[in-house]
Amino acid sequence: MKTYEILSKKDTRSGFGEGLYEAAVKNKNVVALCADLIGSLKMNAFVKEFPDRFIQTGIAEANMIGIAAGLTIGGKIPFAGTFANFATGRVYDQIRQSVAYAGKNVKICASHAGLTLGEDGATHQILEDIGLMKMLPNMYVINTCDFNQTKAATLAIADYVGPVYLRFGRPVVPNFIPENMPFEIGKGIVLNEGRDVSIFATGHLVWKAIEAGHILATQGIDAEIINLHTIKPLDEKRVLSSVSKTSCAVIAEEHQLFGGLGESIASLCAASRPVPMEFVAVRDVFGQSGTPEELMVKYRLDTPDIVSAALKVITRKQ
């Protein structure tokens, strides 16, 4: 099992903030919008350096999405940032009509996704956003795993022309993706090659998948660990080649089982290469207040949950 050094511990949202700033330095058409959450989205550096290219909409997310869509007409590349809950569920129809259907080059940048938002509780802990966004034709969906990947993804989506949903989070987590690794939209990253089980992970569950891989290795299990940062378009080739080798899979994500990465992989494999699967995801319940760590344990999204899912799925192989 390959070892990854923790380069630092940082929040993914700070990666977004740095990426946004760099994207703005590189391209004068990059503009940003925020609905009263500049500090939470780490947009301070952008706001300070580029005040004329920043649009504060106040607590009016529907208007923010519409303005972002309009800004693309005239060649701007708008990054619209707020909490994931307000960036998706609250404004679904605005995104559907004015961004996705209209095919506008809007980057919806969503922080505080999932349970790891923590103490604010279920009103803010959206676990359905990946599903909402991946169902929209034209929409790309990206969920990054650490600071470096979030920064690289932010820069990459500035160069891609089309609607993107970029999902990241609140807590400080291990930063382990090499700083200069280019971000390729739609390309999975093989973190460890293995033969016994494929573990596909996205977002904050990627580091936990690596931890699980080490534990499995002590039990003689050789896990293939793949980071699927892009949920849509899915790296189908990578998924199918991995399960063809391992003949079973675990999918781990900080999201509802319904509508998540696991569902995408299951439907792909059901059609092309059926294998036993286990899912580490939230099971049709809302979250609650608690620390991020407590919540990940409570809702079975922790390292031991990935380990036990892997052990179980291996026993189901023919």
């Binding site: 208007n63 519409g66 303005i67 869509a69 309009g70 007409i73 005239g74 060649g75 009509q97 004015s98």
Partner: protein, 278 residues
């Protein structure tokens, strides 16, 4: 004066009714009510280019928030030369570029935004207006909305924003026909004193009769003179739903119903064919 524009508007009304009749679905009422405004904007007021490009730099841009009146808009675009008028016959048919509500997906020249789900157009127009400012483009943004549509909350988010952020290269026009699907706007959900509301939100407010070409042209000129003075501009445009066809006026019933053969013939008798039917 403006005989020519009125003649074009008559043809646009004919086109809209014939399009809707042919496919037995669509929204004649608002299409007829707004025909004069659309003709005035495209044939006289706006600077725009039939060689369509999405960004529209250096052009005045128009956004239709109440997308259901698309038939009149499609007719105006075709009559101005954005695409062949023969294509009007494809409205709402499979694989047509003339979708039931405006869409960019099929790349119909002249359309910059999908609309139909109401309440979104002013926000989009603000975005386009902001892009123009960032690009040092002096041209203006026009946006037409319905009146029933003002019941959507997003409209007032946009109204608050445009005034607070001094989006003063934007002219919003409200089609104030007082009717919506379920009946008179006042009965469904009264808008109250619209002039006072827009004033209170910080907009320059003008009024006009949207079915009088002279008034439309004069008021649009006045509205343009009000731009670039740190405030957004709104025109409350009184119209008659179904204007130009006697039996379609004075009722909300023609909001979204197609005329039958007999009704079409009666309507066309009231609308001179000025540019040749498609």
């Amino acid at each position: 004066m403006n005989v020519n524009l009125n003649e074009i508007a008559s043809q646009v009304r004919r086109d809209a009714l014939r399009m809707i009749h042919a496919v037995n679905s669509g929204h004649p009422g608002g299409s007829l009510g707004c025909a004069d405004l659309l003709v005035a904007l495209y044939f006289k007021v706006m600077k725009h280019n039939v060689n369509f490009n999405m960004d529209g730099n250096g052009e005045d841009l128009f956004f239709l928030s109440n997308g259901h009146i698309a038939p009149a808009w499609y007719s105006v675009l075709a009559r101005y030369g954005y695409f062949d008028v023969k294509e009007l016959s494809t409205l709402r048919k499979l694989n047509s570029r003339l979708q039931g509500h405006p869409a960019t997906e099929k790349k119909l020249p002249g359309i910059r935004m999908a609309s139909g789900s109401l309440g979104q157009g002013i926000s989009v127009a603000i975005g386009a207006a902001t892009a123009k400012k960032l690009n040092n483009d002096p041209q203006l943004i026009f946006c037409l909305t319905g009146d029933g549509e003002l019941q959507e909350g997003q409209i007032w988010e946009a109204a608050m924003f445009a005034a607070a952020k001094k989006v003063d290269n934007l002219i919003v026009i409200i089609d104030y026909n007082g009717k919506q699907i379920d009946g008179p706007v006042d009965e469904v959900l009264s808008l109250g004193d619209l002039t006072a509301k827009w004033h209170a939100f910080g907009w320059d407010v003008l009024n006009m009769n949207g079915n009088n070409m002279d008034d439309v042209l004069n008021t649009l000129d006045a509205a343009i003179a009000h731009t670039k003075k740190n405030k957004p501009v709104v025109i409350i445009m009184k119209t008659e739903m179904g204007f130009g066809v006697d039996f379609m006026m004075g009722t909300h019933k023609w909001h979204g119903v197609a005329p039958n053969d007999e009704q079409l013939a009666s309507a066309l008798n009231q609308l001179p064919e000025t540019l040749g039917d498609y």
